[in-house]
Symmetry: C2
Subunit: 432 residues, 2 copies
């Protein structure tokens, strides 16, 4: 009767269970590193984005006037909100501040595979450290999230780059270059053909020869960083910072998952140092899976004291595509520990057993619809119950219940008073 809004999704239990597993995995990694969960509003003042976000985000904003005449917007990204929160309590917060949160965001954009108008991200940020170890910790969290999802170095690679190397190289040419536009051109490099790419660099102020030379520099390997460093003091400083970050990732045990890739630029303007993007190694998921980097100027732009910051935000939809491609996405089925099946007037006992099993922490369903034996068995099968406890009138007359394992079909009678007894997860084997 009513249609869902285009680009918005419903998640039924089977899919939701797989998504919950993925979200819990991401959050649990961040929490083990001491990132603390925060909560943020779904609406913010529209001007926060029109002032601070990139043009693309502003064009895709869901904004409107509320009943109090405020212009408000559905949050299209988290960074402005956390910057606002950080600035509000900057004095009181003990630095570095390490925050994580998982929630939906909204952008009115073209709906396509892995891209929706309502999309979920887990945001991870550190405020208050410019030390290379902070960049490295963020990279370590990213790698641990991916490996905890079951992905290996065969499945993904994280390409690391540095904004100051890019801008330093651009400024080392004898030309008046619009650095911001040139970095945007680099960000689009893989999406356009070579002539279009060189044209776009030309439009930022480089000659065609310089554009070719610049692009060749971007393809430098790690061994060639020293050569790059010779081009200017700024480039030398940036390469030193990048090396220090990579050295820290070695200590943090994640260096093998990272490759240097100066053609990685990140689209957003606010990045200032190390930037990175995660890609599907096979290329089957063709877009960047997620990205992040350092943004040292943003907090000051929000009226706070100058505060270095670094972070990233895996989007769940592309991450799901990568996990599915790699075969590590869980089967989308329900799982249930016990179904307590009641036949005849046995509810008091069935309810007692269900309650005892739930107190042990198990997922336990019991009949709440007065169904027949067959209907209950069918339902138990449908929810993938592992063990069915049959509480029948006749068995109960003998003070027994029947335990049935749904996989093997084995079943056994058990004294009702011994069930669940001292067992943590009583099954056929405990009574056979």
């Amino acid at each position: 009767m009513y249609d869902r809004v285009k680009g918005f999704r419903d998640f039924y239990p089977e899919e939701m269970q797989a998504r919950r597993w993925a979200m819990d995995t991401l959050e649990s990694v961040a929490k083990r590193y001491g990132f603390r969960e925060i909560g943020t509003p779904a609406l913010e003042p529209t001007e926060m984005y029109t002032d601070k976000s990139g043009e693309e985000i502003v064009e895709e904003l869901y904004s409107f006037e509320d009943k109090g005449g405020r212009s408000v917007a559905l949050t299209p990204e988290l960074t402005p909100s956390v910057a606002r929160m950080f600035v509000e309590k900057q004095q009181a917060l003990s630095k570095p501040v390490k925050w994580v949160s998982t929630r939906p965001f909204w952008r009115y954009e073209q709906v396509q595979q892995g891209r929706f108008r309502e999309f979920y991200q887990t945001n991870v940020d550190i405020f208050g450290s410019s030390d290379p170890a902070a960049d490295a910790e963020v990279l370590a969290v990213a790698v641990d999230m991916l490996t905890d999802l079951g992905l290996t170095s065969e499945d993904f690679e994280i390409r690391v780059s540095h904004r100051d190397i890019l801008s330093g190289l651009l400024e080392s040419f004898d030309a008046d270059v619009d650095t911001r536009e040139a970095i945007r051109a680099v960000d689009k490099r893989a999406k356009v053909d070579r002539d279009e790419y060189l044209d776009s660099l030309y439009e930022t102020g480089l000659s065609y020869d310089q554009a070719e030379a610049f692009d060749e520099l971007l393809q430098s390997s790690e061994d060639e960083l020293d050569t790059l460093a010779e081009r200017s003091e700024a480039v030398a400083e940036a390469t030193e910072n990048l090396r220090a970050v990579l050295a820290a990732t070695e200590d943090f045990g994640v260096r093998d998952h990272l490759t240097l890739s100066l053609t990685t630029a990140r689209g957003l303007d606010y990045y200032t140092g190390v930037v990175f993007e995660c890609f599907d190694s096979t290329g089957e998921v063709s877009r960047s899976v997620f990205g992040g980097g350092r943004y040292d100027d943003l907090i000051e732009g929000f009226g706070g004291q100058s505060t270095p910051a670094v972070g990233f935000a895996p989007g769940h939809a592309t991450l799901q595509l990568l996990c599915q491609r790699a075969g590590v996405w869980p089967e989308e089925t329900l799982s249930t520990d016990y179904y307590v099946l009641q036949v005849g007037d046995t509810r008091a006992t069935a309810a007692r057993i269900a309650r005892d099993l739930r107190e042990l922490g198990h997922v336990v369903e019991a009949d709440v619809a007065d169904r027949s034996f067959g209907a209950q068995m069918g339902y138990a099968d449908g929810i993938n119950a592992e063990t069915v406890v049959i509480v029948g009138e006749q068995d109960l007359a003998n003070d027994e219940v029947t335990l049935k394992e749904m996989d093997e079909g084995e079943q056994i009678s058990v004294p009702v008073d011994d069930f669940p007894g001292d067992h943590d997860r009583p099954t056929f084997d405990d009574f056979a």
Copy 2:
């Protein structure tokens, strides 16, 4: 520089940790009963609410036109969304369907204590069973949620009523009564003075004498249900249903937390059978903490096949007020298992130790800001680290690290290769 939108909240880590504990507690109870998590959109077609929700909700709607010209609304409640989802897959879903979800909702209403424009609820619903056991299971989940939060029968009571008893009684008078309006009047009974209450009943078609008589009937105790049943066939059926629900809650082990209270009516029009509300026993939290009930006609109203349904939705803000009043709300402080403190050039070892402790599942922070010993100690104290592992250059020269318990201040040197070793949660005592 930017202000948060009025009625919207930021949650910093300390408060968020307490809220996360409460949310996890609620969800974990529902999941043990076999309720399955679903995910739903933040925006729905506006007409879904203007057609189906009560007047109050429609007045408080955040609705606007999106860039595609659709009239959309920020979801003010979950029920229409789950009804839409249920109808869409009604044939394929195996009944009863048991769904749970936790998320924010939005209403433009007066901001006051425990009431915000963005508010969080955990919704719990069963579709496809009219059996009293379904009502009872929902009541059992509600009680278990409260007791798992640490609340006892001293702290709360759940008042149970029945819409069909109320309407049956109203219809048993020799008067042409607007039942819906009369039930709304009962819902406001505690909020207005007696004359205003009787006036509002009078306006629905009862005489003043009948209004007095009706109100007296509403104060019947459980023993007097038989007397009520004599008034009409409809009342008799409804009292029988109510008794069956209460009997099932006895089997489910939660009967003691429930009291019969026919003056409980619930404001929303769509309820059809048993309804209930949770109250603070001390009355200090003066509003209803949450409520729920049976709504058997709603699915059909959304274009589905007639499907009985029952559910409830605890709001987290009032629940937090109750928990705080009862002294069971957790202290809002951070908790951290380990801080790995590095002094000098010891990052490789410190990082290895931090990694090993994280693999054991602990929350472990380490320096990412190149701070002094003192600054790190201060930070470790600020995040309430239980144990500090000091990795110093001199100790490491002797192949040792120092373990320091922050509470007692005890410390001990431990061979670096034995740490963490085989210990799950190594502390001073394991090495003393």
